[in-house]
């Protein structure tokens, strides 16, 4: 009996060794990865080099959107040998993500610490208090999500005009979404439509929950982003009512008009997905990472990732990112 167990264990190890691909996933530390360190590889002005492995912190769990975002970036960088040290992804959700953010902000190795930060994370961080954008040096924004208002196929509303009509007539409408970026853009939209009093916001923990609630008919409307809703729109279970953007979305969301088509001003609050470093990161390191992220944004692998996840490829460099995030922070502070 013991021998059989042993045999099975050995077989399992063999399988594990065989079926995994040759390339190492970025979650493990590779032995020193020294590419051709000739100066012809790096731009002449950049004599900066990393002195230890890079920690790339993600304030949410493995498999989630931010995690996938970070792993893809790290993967692209390692495949192309653009960084001279391995990048390790660290997931830490403690304190609603605040711990990961604080760890990066106060890192003792500022040049080799990165944090995945989206506008949503920024809003949560500012609302919780204790940390501000000044504790970080934004490096790049590599993608953006924009929002839609959705409804279930059996809902009493078939178009956004009907929703606005009903609200004007005094009906109360329930709308679900995640607190953070979705609530912010909802408030912006309601301000524009001047209908803030007619809507009740039901808060959910994730887009999946909002979609579930819509499919079960428990809320009238829901806020959503393309990636989370695409399959359901294709299957007909969810109908997109309005695109919160300056242009219509691509298929299958192309049936949803923008607010300007309905006679109002467009409202949009892009959920930026970006990378930041600690405030003590040196200028050389910032320039170094800035140029690497620019290369990532141009790479074909990144373009493929954007297509798969329906992210908008809105690249911003360090200076532009700082501006964009400052606006987000401002909004969050106003709403507080």
């Amino acid at each position: 009996m013991k021998k059989i167990l042993l045999l099975i264990l050995v077989l399992s190890v063999v399988l594990g060794a065989c079926s995994a691909n040759k390339t190492q996933p970025s979650g493990t530390v590779t032995p020193t990865n020294t590419p051709d360190a000739t100066s012809s590889e790096e731009p002449a002005k950049d004599e900066f080099s990393l002195s230890r492995s890079v920690e790339f912190w993600v304030s949410s769990k493995a498999g989630g959107n931010s995690d996938m975002f970070s792993r893809t970036i790290a993967d692209i960088i390692s495949k192309n040998n653009w960084a001279d040290q391995p990048i390790i992804i660290i997931n830490n959700e403690d304190g609603n993500g605040q711990i990961a953010r604080r760890n990066v902000a106060t890192s003792k190795t500022p040049d080799e610490s990165l944090l995945c930060m989206s506008s949503g994370d920024l809003i949560v961080m500012v609302t919780l208090g204790g940390l501000t954008l000044d504790d970080f040096r934004p490096i790049a924004i590599l993608g953006a999500d924009k929002h839609l208002v959705l409804t279930g196929k059996n809902s009493r509303f078939k178009t956004m005009e009907e929703v606005i009509e009903a609200a004007k007539n005094g009906e109360r409408i329930t709308i679900g979404g995640t607190p953070g970026d979705e609530l912010t853009v909802l408030n912006m939209m309601l301000e524009e439509l001047d209908l803030a009093d007619s809507f009740d916001f039901v808060s959910f923990g994730s887009s999946a929950e909002t979609v579930t609630a819509l499919m079960g008919g428990h809320v009238d409307l829901g806020m959503g982003k393309p990636a989370a809703a695409r399959e359901y729109v294709v299957s007909g279970d969810i109908i997109p009512l309005v695109a919160l953007s300056t242009t219509r979305f691509a298929k299958p969301f192309d049936t949803a008009p923008t607010l300007s088509e309905l006679g109002y001003n467009d409202v949009e609050f892009p959920l930026y997905r970006g990378v930041v470093g600690p405030k003590n990161m040196s200028d050389e390191a910032l320039a170094y990472w800035d140029s690497i992220m620019a290369k990532v944004a141009q790479s074909p692998e990144w373009k493929a990732y954007l297509e798969k996840t329906l992210l908008i490829g809105d690249y911003k460099n360090a200076a532009e990112t700082l501006e964009a995030y400052k606006l987000v922070e401002q909004r969050a502070l106003e709403a507080k």
Binding site: G16, S19, R71, D94, G95, T127, D200, V202, T212, V234
Partner: protein, 502 residues
């Protein structure tokens, strides 16, 4: 019906490729080990191994993870029965009767029963998944906030049956559990509660390290105290021949196993409720409606049977909404959902149509991994016999190590370890003063779900309580809830009336 069978056969042809069988095997072994280790349950195990599967072929990857998920339920019972430290939360109820049986010298029997009933639960769950998957998943959608809240109310009545001899202590424990559950950010308003100015507490106290502490560390303290006493465990032969299940035993557990498998599958289908909720609810219902209810908690095989059958059935159930709607049916399936996206698949209603090999291959492999897990579990029973015979002096450091590692691994931070230590101290104080632990844990798990759903329901109804009574499903559940609460009162009144007459 026929189409489902055809698809299933196609799935079997996919699942029986050498790579996939080996993946199922590896998953089963890993799952058993992960399940047996206190604190590291299916959620953590899958989350930790998920990044490694980044480059795998999706079918192989999901087969391995699914196998881990299943086998985890087998393994969780091991440490629960042998050392009273549940491998993860679905095994908490298993520990109640399982450990008691082990104390009586019937550990082998307990292990056998838990393996057998786990297997039956898994088979029934998977069969239901095959034929009724999409239908049940759609039905699960009808469970909105008010329905979930009503369901949680019913579940919370089960706490009353776990309070043991002193109801007041049980109530105190439950209240404490609810208090701990409120710590952290309130999702509805974004307000922070009970963080005591500490940034770590913004996320509240993590459940898993708390459980590890309550059971594991507290157990260690107790073991350390009683170190010089002789081993209470009798030396029964725990090979396959020993621990024989008599015919009357089998008769006793047949009905409970069957209904709890059905029930567990259904609970697994509900978005947001998984193996843990399934085992809690089944155990409580067994206590309320089953025979031998007084024995439950002191070594009744029915308690063991329902807990294990339902937690395995819930795994199958949890895959239902994941595959047919792209909605996670439990915490672990939420992790698997991430995996699906990792491998480039699009979870959603179209998954069965766009990736039939994947979906049916997975379902077929669930049958296979169930069998494999049963086989491996059964033959490792003799190994387990050695575990019990390990002297306390070695057990204590071993359990302590596992507790610390488990607590760290689940949260990737020392905070988890701190929580675990707090849990351990609290658990020890509880034990010394005869406070029951189960109500605290149940209250913690259920009250946060109850609160969120009640508040969401009230937003939807704009503050009116009628929402709980006007929607059909929640009306039914509320009737059940009130009848549970009022039944004893009514019974008393009737009894007194009869007395007067006589």
């Amino acid at each position: 019906m026929l189409e489902a069978l055809q698809n299933l056969f196609m799935g079997f042809s996919v699942a029986t490729s050498i790579n996939n069988i080996l993946a199922a095997l590896l998953g089963a072994v890993l799952g058993l080990i992960i399940g047996a280790m206190p604190g590291i349950g299916s959620l953590t195990g899958c989350a930790l191994l998920l990044p490694i599967t980044f480059k795998f072929n999706p079918v192989t990857a999901i087969i391995m993870l699914g196998s881990i998920y299943y086998a985890n339920m087998f393994g969780g019972a091991y440490s629960a029965i042998l050392i009273n430290v549940p491998g993860d939360s679905p095994a908490i109820m298993t520990a109640m009767d399982g450990y008691a049986l082990a104390r009586k010298g019937q550990a082998g029997k307990a292990l056998k029963i838990s393996n057998l009933t786990s297997f039956v639960g898994g088979v029934i769950g998977t069969v239901i998944l095959v034929f009724l998957g999409p239908t049940l998943a759609k039905f699960g959608l009808k469970f909105g906030p008010s329905e979930m809240a009503a369901m949680m109310l019913v579940a919370m009545t089960s706490i009353s049956w776990l309070v043991g001899e002193n109801p007041i202590k049980g109530v105190i424990a439950s209240c404490l559990g609810m208090l701990i559950g409120t710590m952290g950010v309130d999702i509805i308003t974004g307000n922070v509660r009970y963080d005591f100015g500490n940034v770590y507490l913004l996320g509240g106290l993590d459940f898993i390290p708390l459980v590890i502490g309550f059971f594991g560390l507290a157990q260690v303290f107790e073991l350390a105290e009683g170190r010089n006493e002789s081993q209470p465990m009798s030396d029964d032969k725990m090979d396959l021949r020993g621990g024989r299940l008599s015919r009357s035993d089998l008769k006793r557990i047949t009905v409970p196993t069957l209904w709890s498998s059905l029930f567990g599958t259904f609970v697994g289908f509900l978005p947001g409720a998984g193996a843990t909720t399934a085992s809690f609810l089944s155990y409580a219902m067994q206590k309320k409606f089953g025979k031998n209810e007084e024995e439950l908690g002191t070594g009744a095989i029915e308690g063991l049977a329902v807990s294990e059958a339902s937690n395995n059935a819930a795994v199958a159930g949890a895959f239902g909404p994941l595959l047919s709607l792209g909605i996670p049916g439990s915490g672990t399936t939420a992790v698997l959902l991430g995996g699906l996206m990792l491998w480039g698949l699009n979870p959603g209603p179209m998954l069965f149509e766009s990736e039939p090999e994947f979906a049916w291959g997975l379902i077929a492999s669930l049958f296979i991994s169930n069998l494999v897990a049963l086989f491996i579990a059964m033959i490792s029973i003799p190994l387990m016999a050695k575990v019990i015979r390990v002297p306390t002096g070695v057990m204590i450091p071993a359990i302590v190590t596992v507790c610390f590692v488990g607590a760290y691994a689940t949260t990737n931070s020392m905070f988890g370890v701190v929580v675990m230590i707090i849990g351990g101290i609290l658990g020890y104080i509880f034990q010394k003063n005869d406070y029951p632990i189960a109500p605290l844990l149940l209250a913690y798990v259920l009250s946060s779900s109850l609160e969120i759903n009640v508040r969401r329901a009230l937003v939807i109804s704009q503050g009116s309580l009628s929402i709980f009574f006007t929607r059909p499903i929640s009306l039914v559940l509320m009737i059940v809830f009130f009848s549970f609460i009022l039944a004893p009162v009514i019974r008393n009144v009737i009894a007194k009336a009869r007395e007067k007459k006589a």
